[in-house]
């Protein structure tokens, strides 16, 4: 057990040191979410009129953009594994008496830490697009963002542990990002798409993350009435339904966590199997 903890903090600590050393990485942690917001905010608001004055498009997309920003950072954090392999440092980590789960956790912590930070940074911008997020909503969002960031980061670490070159890693992650973003409800509700696409969306952990975060953010703004208002007007139900069951915030979080746990174990196993 102590080997799990030591692995976790030693590996995480080094990632943290590295992050502070590499200014480009540190800067991108700030710049990426800001860029996303400026582009989506300024661009879309002009093109699309608000949905019947109730929910405007930017507000609808805001939770999705938060998730996307977390997704990018978290997935690409897996690059650090490939990098460590290329410079040989991974060998040093793997011959140390550290639990492989601990190593995977430490790597994941770094990626999810930055992801979580970015997610929260974006929250500061919510008032500027007319969303007010109260303290309760913020406290609710924190664990949700955290769970999502850890899960996505674990996916990145797992992919990283399987790849032998940075090019291969980039290739795989780019292939992952497009479907994960588009079949997640960031841009359109997943219950109103063709069946095959809906199934893909429901296998996607991001779907549940987006759903949970959107419920918290938009319910804070429109209270419970917003869902029914939209449905009543023949609009769409924005939520995610699995086997006819409408997912609540905490059910979403549970699905994301289970997904994350499975991927973490896969990453640890992958570290266990390989050396050189």
């Amino acid at each position: 057990m102590s080997e799990v903890f030591t692995g976790f903090w030693v590996v995480g600590y080094r990632e943290f040191l590295r992050l502070l050393r590499e200014r480009a990485r540190l800067a991108s942690a700030f710049v990426t979410p800001l860029l996303l917001l400026v582009i989506f905010g300024a661009g879309f608001n002009r093109i699309v009129a608000p949905l019947d004055g109730q929910v405007d498009l930017v507000q609808f997309m805001f939770p999705g953009i938060v998730c996307m920003s977390v997704l990018m950072t978290a997935l690409f954090s897996g690059l650090s594994v490939v990098w460590d392999r290329e410079v040989g440092f991974l060998k040093v980590v793997l011959v140390a008496p550290l639990s492989r789960v601990g190593i995977a956790l430490g790597k994941t912590a770094a990626g999810s830490g930055v992801g979580l930070f970015q997610g929260l940074l974006l929250m500061i911008l919510a008032p500027f697009i007319g969303l007010s997020i109260g303290l309760i909503a913020l406290v609710t969002l924190l664990p949700l963002l955290f769970v999502l960031a850890v899960t996505l980061s674990a996916i990145g670490i797992f992919v990283g542990s399987q790849m032998r070159s940075q090019q291969a890693f980039h290739g795989v992650v780019e292939i992952l990002i497009v479907p994960m973003v588009f079949f997640s409800g960031v841009f359109f509700p997943v219950d109103k798409v063709p069946t095959w696409l809906g199934i893909l969306a429901k296998l996607n952990p991001l779907t549940y993350g987006v759903d949970a975060i959107r419920q918290v953010i938009l319910n804070a703004r429109y209270s419970a009435s917003f869902e029914s208002t939209l449905s009543a007007k023949g609009g769409v139900d924005l939520g995610v339904t699995v086997f006819g069951h409408r997912m609540s915030v905490w059910e979403d979080a549970l699905v994301v966590s289970i997904f994350g746990l499975i991927v973490l174990v896969m990453a640890a196993r992958s570290f266990n199997r390989q050396g050189t």
Binding site: Y13, V92, P97
Partner: protein
């Protein structure tokens, strides 16, 4: 079957990469405190053996124990009792030398007071104490190697693995690295498992295993390996090789061979044999030389090829004494 006193026990170890047999049926024992070397050319299976012993690779057959711990069943204990210097670079260039060592100390849970003292001791030993707060990316190749050596020793391992520790370094740096290795061994008495294809490094070893194509060809002390050659090596240059060869075989009962216009044969105690031989030999001699056999000669004799491709040029006998 396993002795407590043995640092490394390897039995019938094998590693297959697809169709390639990187290591085949390798067995050997390294005693506590022994300096043991694997001497072999590129691709012989040296690194693969180390990777198996340090738990990075699983063997496809056989078994191995480090300090009594099985490398497959008790990996955590094995990892705790070994130190490593890998063949390739393994430092985090973005961290300072000090931080690289500290990461290691944390990873092995060395208690704080001991950690600081040990890091200072080792950084001073390898003469990097003044540069400890510089990033590794500003270090030269020799400095990096020294830092890796310090890191390998940080945890006071009972077994230290050195995979070609001086590869690509200039002779002066190589000598310094060796001084540190021998000094630490004197102070702490750990067993050292070394791989090399430098013959002079193999000479430092208590015992040497000659490895080629994944198998151990011969294993013994450097001196006894050289005895396999059957004495010293005498080289002659004469006008008429044919007649010289006939006389050497017929009159002296020797088994001469010809390399590049030079006749070579082995005799025990050549220093006593030569004066008489020169008096008795009927043909005019252009040059005569005598030298002690090297591990290179042993390698050539055992495997039929030179340890390095370019080594064929080295193996032209350099006369130790010209008469």
């Amino acid at each position: 079957m396993f002795h407590d006193m043995d640092a490394i026990v390897v039995e019938k170890l094998g590693k297959q990469f697809g169709k390639i047999s990187a290591v085949q049926d390798v067995s050997f024992t390294v005693h506590e405190g022994e300096l043991f070397g694997f001497l072999g050319p590129n691709g012989a299976g040296k690194t693969t053996t180390i990777n198996i012993l340090c738990t990075l690779l699983r063997p496809t057959s056989g078994q191995a124990r480090i300090n009594g711990f099985d490398v497959m069943q008790q990996r955590s204990q094995v990892r705790r009792s070994i130190g490593l210097v890998f063949q390739g670079p393994t430092l985090d260039e973005y961290l300072t030398g000090f931080e690289n060592l500290r990461f290691h100390a944390y990873a092995y849970s060395i208690p704080a007071p001991e950690r600081d003292e040990r890091m200072r001791e080792l950084l001073q030993l390898v003469e990097l104490w003044d540069r400890r707060n510089d990033r590794v990316r500003t270090y030269s190749g020799g400095m990096r190697r020294r830092l890796e050596l310090a890191r390998g020793l940080l945890t006071r391992p009972r077994v230290l693995f050195l995979d070609e520790p001086t590869l690509g370094l200039d002779p002066q740096t190589r000598r310094r690295i060796w001084e540190y290795i021998l000094e630490m061994r004197r102070r702490e008495g750990m067993a050292v498992f070394l791989t090399t294809h430098y013959l002079d490094e193999a000479e430092h070893c208590d015992r040497v295993g000659i490895i080629d194509h994944g198998s151990i060809v011969e294993l013994d002390t450097p001196d006894r390996l050289k005895d396999l050659i059957g004495g010293d090596i005498v080289s002659l240059r004469v006008e008429d090789e044919e007649r010289a060869l006939m006389e050497l075989r017929g009159r002296f009962g020797l088994e001469p061979a010809v390399f590049d216009n030079t006749i070579q044969f082995n005799v025990p105690h050549a220093d006593q044999f030569l004066p008489e031989f020169i008096r008795e030999f009927s043909l005019p001699l252009q040059a005569v030389s005598l030298r002690r056999p090297t591990l290179e000669d042993v390698f050539l004799k055992l495997t039929g090829h030179a340890i390095r491709d370019e080594a064929s040029a080295d193996s032209i006998p350099t006369p130790a004494r010209r008469l």
